[in-house]
């Protein structure tokens, strides 16, 4: 479903952020992306949601080469991806509920269909009771749950999480991680960048490790089945 093939990435005014990275993540899989700061984890995620494009090599999401997507197709791709960041990226002047609804409004969803979906995902992340709270009235862990709810509300193919527990204390970290595991158990693939090795050790999931832009370890390095290219559409 996500396939990197010989990907190099050089930022305009930087050195190589990724060097010859290849891997494949299947539908429903859970994978950690680890590595030291600056190893290129965020870059991998940015290449997947087409915020950046490979300097050379191929990035395919759901069969589509990101480099070939038109500016109209990129939003469509993003609607099929759930994205979560360390800093939550919630809108401060909107309630939890409105933040989640925002992801649906942006797609032009019908008003009537929005509210039930929003309540369903808020319940799924355990925040139904705080739907009317503003971000500043929520703890870090709760804010991240809102962000996860927003990422889930469009039924994504994969949840991309960039250090989702980076700003959280241990308890909140465990809670959010458990939530991600539950989401994966329900069928959504999860790709989680983290340098929290305790977390990585806790779970029996695949680990992809980057070092200075190079892929140095992949516990599931069988290259993956070659069957998904072109299967399923981005929209």
């Amino acid at each position: 479903m996500i396939r990197f093939a010989g990907v190099f990435k050089a930022y305009p005014r930087g050195s190589l952020a990724l060097k010859d990275v290849s891997f494949h993540i299947a539908k429903g899989e859970f994978a950690f992306l680890t590595g030291h700061s600056g190893a290129g984890k965020s870059t991998v995620l940015r290449l997947i949601h087409a915020e950046e494009f490979p300097t050379s090599g191929e990035v395919r999401v759901s069969g589509f080469l990101t480099a070939d997507l038109t500016s109209r197709e990129i939003p469509r791709l993003r609607r099929r991806l759930g994205i979560v960041f360390q800093d939550f990226r919630l809108l401060e002047d909107r309630t939890a509920e409105e933040n989640v609804a925002f992801a649906l409004e942006v797609t032009g969803a019908r008003r009537a269909t929005i509210a039930p979906k929003v309540m369903r995902v808020l319940a799924q992340v355990g925040l139904a009771a705080k739907a009317a709270a503003y971000p500043k009235e929520l703890s870090g862990g709760e804010q991240q749950r809102v962000a996860i709810a927003r990422a889930l509300v469009n039924d994504p193919l994969v949840l991309l999480a960039d250090e989702p527990t980076g700003n959280l204390d241990e308890r909140a970290t465990r809670g959010v991680f458990q939530l991600l595991r539950d989401i994966n158990a329900a069928g959504t693939a999860v790709l989680m960048a983290t340098h929290d090795l305790d977390l990585v050790r806790q779970a029996p999931y695949r680990v992809i490790e980057l070092q200075q832009g190079a892929l140095v370890y992949d516990s599931g390095a069988d290259g993956g089945p070659e069957t998904d290219a072109g299967a399923g559409a981005a929209s």
Binding site: H49, A50, E51, E52, S71, R72, I74, P75, R76, L77, R78, R79, I83, R89, L91, F102, A103, E105, V106, T107, G108, R111, R150, N154
Partner: protein, 287 residues
């Protein structure tokens, strides 16, 4: 749609001062243009009354037979600008002069021969009474061999025409200056909005908003400000009209179509300003 409208309205609350300034400049731009428009409209009323009386008089050479004149009249009446053409004989001219110039009764009585020439009086149809048409018709009348002299109120028609042109020109120039200022101010407001909402825009894109969707609230904001400015301009113009109408003379105001046009023009101006600004500052989808 709803989201875009809500965002556009929020923008007013976020930057009230700049928003008010945008609306005010558009309002002033259109107010000034409108003011000159009103002058033009009312001047046109006055002109129409004067132009009612526009006539061209062709003085005939002495000895021109009546038949020739009558034939010419049927010819002249086929000109598409011409409403009527009437023959005034030498005798008629004299008796008219006697009637109208009663003080000179004695002078006329002493005349041995009638000094007044016969003439053809040509009146033009409404819509063909401007200097341009009068000149054109006069030029054609000059072509008749029996025409000795042609008289018409050319000077003052041209002056009034010019006055109207100047009013329109001044209005458009001042209005254009204000319009440019308002485009710049609206553009700046939108730009500040875009910068202010950079985080929000990034999040919108993250969750899959299209470029059009990101731009829509800004375009709507500009259009809304333009429409408000246009409406305010109509209000100001009406106040001006009302004052003049009350204190000075019976004046005319824009008809509903023109009012709608002014508001629409303001809307277009606001839309244009925001579109230009958004294009510059929201650039590519991944920036």
């Amino acid at each position: 749609m709803n989201l875009a409208l809500r965002e556009a309205l929020l923008a007013f609350r976020r930057m009230p001062l700049l928003s008010v300034l945008s609306v005010t400049t558009i309002a002033f731009a259109l107010f000034v243009v409108g003011l000159f428009g009103l002058v033009a409209i009312n001047l046109r009323g006055a002109l129409a009354a004067l132009e009612e009386r526009v006539e061209i008089i062709v003085y005939l050479r002495r000895g021109t037979p009546v038949e020739t004149a009558t034939l010419a009249i049927t010819d002249i009446e086929t000109f598409h600008e011409v409403a009527t053409a009437t023959y005034v004989s030498e005798d008629e001219a004299l008796s008219r002069a006697r009637r109208e110039l009663a003080e000179f009764q004695g002078v006329f009585a002493d005349l041995r021969a009638n000094p007044l020439p016969a003439s053809i009086e040509v009146r033009l149809k409404p819509g063909f009474r401007s200097a341009e048409h009068v000149n054109a018709v006069a030029e054609r009348l000059r072509g008749f061999r029996f025409a000795e002299d042609i008289r018409y109120g050319r000077e003052w028609i041209e002056k009034l025409d010019r006055l109207r042109d100047v009013a329109a020109l001044v209005g458009l120039t001042v209005g254009a200056a204000f319009a440019i200022a308002s485009v710049i101010i609206i553009g700046t407001t939108i730009r500040m909005g875009v910068l202010h909402r950079g985080r929000e825009i990034a999040i919108m894109r993250l969750v899959g908003a299209t470029d059009g969707f990101v731009r829509r609230p800004f375009l709507l904001e500009g259009a809304l400000k333009g429409a408000l400015g246009g409406a305010a301009a109509v209000g100001l113009n009406h106040a001006a009209f009302f004052t003049v109408d009350r204190l000075l003379f019976d004046a005319a105001f824009f008809d509903p179509a023109w009012v709608a046009f002014i508001v629409l023009f303001g809307t277009a101006l606001g839309l244009l300003a925001s579109a230009a600004s958004v294009r510059r500052h929201l650039g590519s989808p991944t920036s």
